[in-house]
Symmetry: C2
Subunit: 362 residues, 2 copies
């Protein structure tokens, strides 16, 4: 018995998944025959028996209809499903969630998560840009008072929270400027990850006075990295979990909700979300016991040409993959646009100034 499914089997499988996704009730042969395909229920029944033997379908009990297995979902996601377009209303709805405020990174993430969860009726999340991959646009030590300077770190993803750095009181304008030059020449355009090693290398070559400052900067970036790494994954619409039959068992629902409250767990749940392409993780493909009957769909948004963070959806394996994909795709584009443009606005001027300054002095 070949594992390759003939045309009819594929059509039937698609119909079963489609129906099961919308109704949540095991699908019988009659339903398929009446609602979707023009073969008689007996024919369909025969094919369904084959599909069951091949592991694509399962029966909850003898006299029930069939439910798709995880294998079926995988096939469905990769080959069968019709990728639907969002209609005008849906687009409007998504747009309406993002407002002027959404230029703020935080707010944008919240709004996006809300938008996605509302549109899909599942739980949405937004992962902030991976800090290690973020490129430094500008790094500068700004004198505040004698003995105290402010480290301003501008990255692709906006302004890193600034911190105060203690410098020795003898440090004057000239020393600061030379450090700034050093910083800018060596670190701009590199990823934070690279910067750390570069800074450490740099320190060996520098005189004591500078060394101390560089050390402080290194510490500061490190601690911020640490902080940002455990940075919140923004979750939206967790109450949507309870909308679906799968979680009418309250203890199951609670466990899952609770898992999503912990940043660590959530992080590991979403660990697959990295690349440019859509990632779909179905049921047991998930690392967590608790996610056994969940699926996760993710996609990365793009800032400045490179994927940085990602957005996604957690829902029951019986999830409307097609619609979720469309929503995520649309939102990905919107976010990429917004982030790229706000990056332009807020940073370009600063960048240009520095270029002029640097070239002017060389």
């Amino acid at each position: 018995m070949a594992d390759i499914l003939n045309e009819r089997k594929l059509k039937i499988l698609r119909a079963i998944v489609d129906d099961y996704i919308t109704t949540g009730v095991p699908v019988g042969s009659r339903t398929i025959s009446k609602k979707y395909l023009d073969w008689s229920s007996a024919t369909i029944r025969n094919e369904m028996m084959d599909l069951e033997e091949l592991g694509y379908l399962a029966q909850p009990h003898t006299s029930a209809g069939r439910v798709p297995s995880e294998r079926a979902y995988r096939l469905y996601v990769e080959q069968l499903m019709n990728v639907s377009e969002l209609n005008g209303d849906e687009v409007e709805n998504l747009k309406s969630h993002l407002s002027a405020r959404s230029r703020d990174l935080k707010q944008l993430f919240h709004d996006a998560a809300k938008a996605i969860s509302d549109a899909t009726t599942y739980t949405a999340f937004v992962m902030p840009p991976n800090p290690l991959g973020i490129k430094i646009r500008n790094i500068q030590l700004v004198p505040v008072t004698s003995g105290l300077a402010l480290l301003v770190l501008v990255t692709d993803a906006g302004i890193f929270k600034d911190t105060f750095i203690r410098v020795s009181p003898e440090f004057g304008q000239e020393e600061l400027q030379s450090i700034n030059k050093l910083l800018q020449r060596n670190l701009c355009g590199h990823s934070l990850n690279g910067v750390l090693t570069r800074l450490e290398g740099q320190m060996k070559d520098s005189v004591d006075d500078q060394r101390q400052v560089l050390d402080a900067i290194l510490d500061s970036i490190k601690s911020q990295l640490f902080e940002e790494e455990s940075q919140e994954i923004v979750v939206g619409g967790s109450s949507n979990l309870l909308k679906h039959r799968e979680y009418s068992d309250i203890e199951k629902a609670r466990a899952l909700l609770s898992a999503m409250e912990s940043r660590e767990t959530l992080g590991s749940i979403l660990q697959g979300a990295k690349g440019l392409q859509f990632t779909v993780t179905i049921g047991n493909e998930n690392p967590h016991e608790i996610m056994r009957d969940c699926s996760v769909v993710t996609v990365s948004y793009i800032v400045d040409g490179a994927p940085t963070g990602s957005i996604g959806v957690i829902g029951p394996t019986r999830m409307n993959y097609s619609h979720v994909t469309s929503v995520l795709n649309y939102m990905k584009n919107m976010m990429s646009d917004i982030l790229s443009s706000s990056y332009d606005d807020s940073i370009k001027s600063l960048e240009e100034h520095n270029k002029n300054e640097n070239t002017g002095k060389e």
Copy 2:
């Protein structure tokens, strides 16, 4: 029939509430007689009938035990309940949630919310300090490049997110310094609220060049205020809702969870949380329909001598008020301590520097 309850009625009422809080099951006269008090069940029954007539108890149905009414809870909270001390383990548990990271405001709020929700099995929240009331410790315009300066605003509650301010390129060191002096002399020590009006007044008296910069600063503070005002109320342990019998109705649970996801709703739910004292809002005392069978307990934490933000708990009216109160009280103190000390650490030095600078030059 006097509304004043005799000693015995009070004792019985307390026993009923205590029992109902722990078991969640309507309390019968026999239970009270066996587990709590040494009168016969018949006696207790008689008293219970009185209490029911007085509106302190209710019967779900004829042959069930009694449940406390909201009136009973109110009396219980105000007079009857034994305020319990936390035992060593509980204190340890609370402490263990707060780590070194908790010096960061954000992180502290998260940790605190988690700690409270874990300790109480209810849903906890932390309201950040009310931004209008926050006092400015230090305000300074730091030159970054020509034409661009960084506005650093240090407040009681830590560093306000800094923003870039465009200044005219002719603005040199002297102009900046004079503006800085102006800012510091006029604005330090005032609340943000006051600062806004003061800045507006100031602008009339200033020359065009300064005026432009002040305008930009005003805008920046305003927009930040707006941003901070809708600032997140941190919620912890919302999944705890599902732990309690009250929310075994999944639709009810979902509605409540969903309400707590919206910042606006949440804000209005917690609107009562202002003063120094504990606030307990029981059932229908809540403004929201959806909160009909919820209670909210809140208390403010203290920074620099004044109540600023608050922490609290949302749970079923059948809530362990006594324990919740103890936990909140303990956490309030811890947070006040942490916030006050971190304020000291991070800001004092900066403050002193500025004092010296100012007095030195006058």
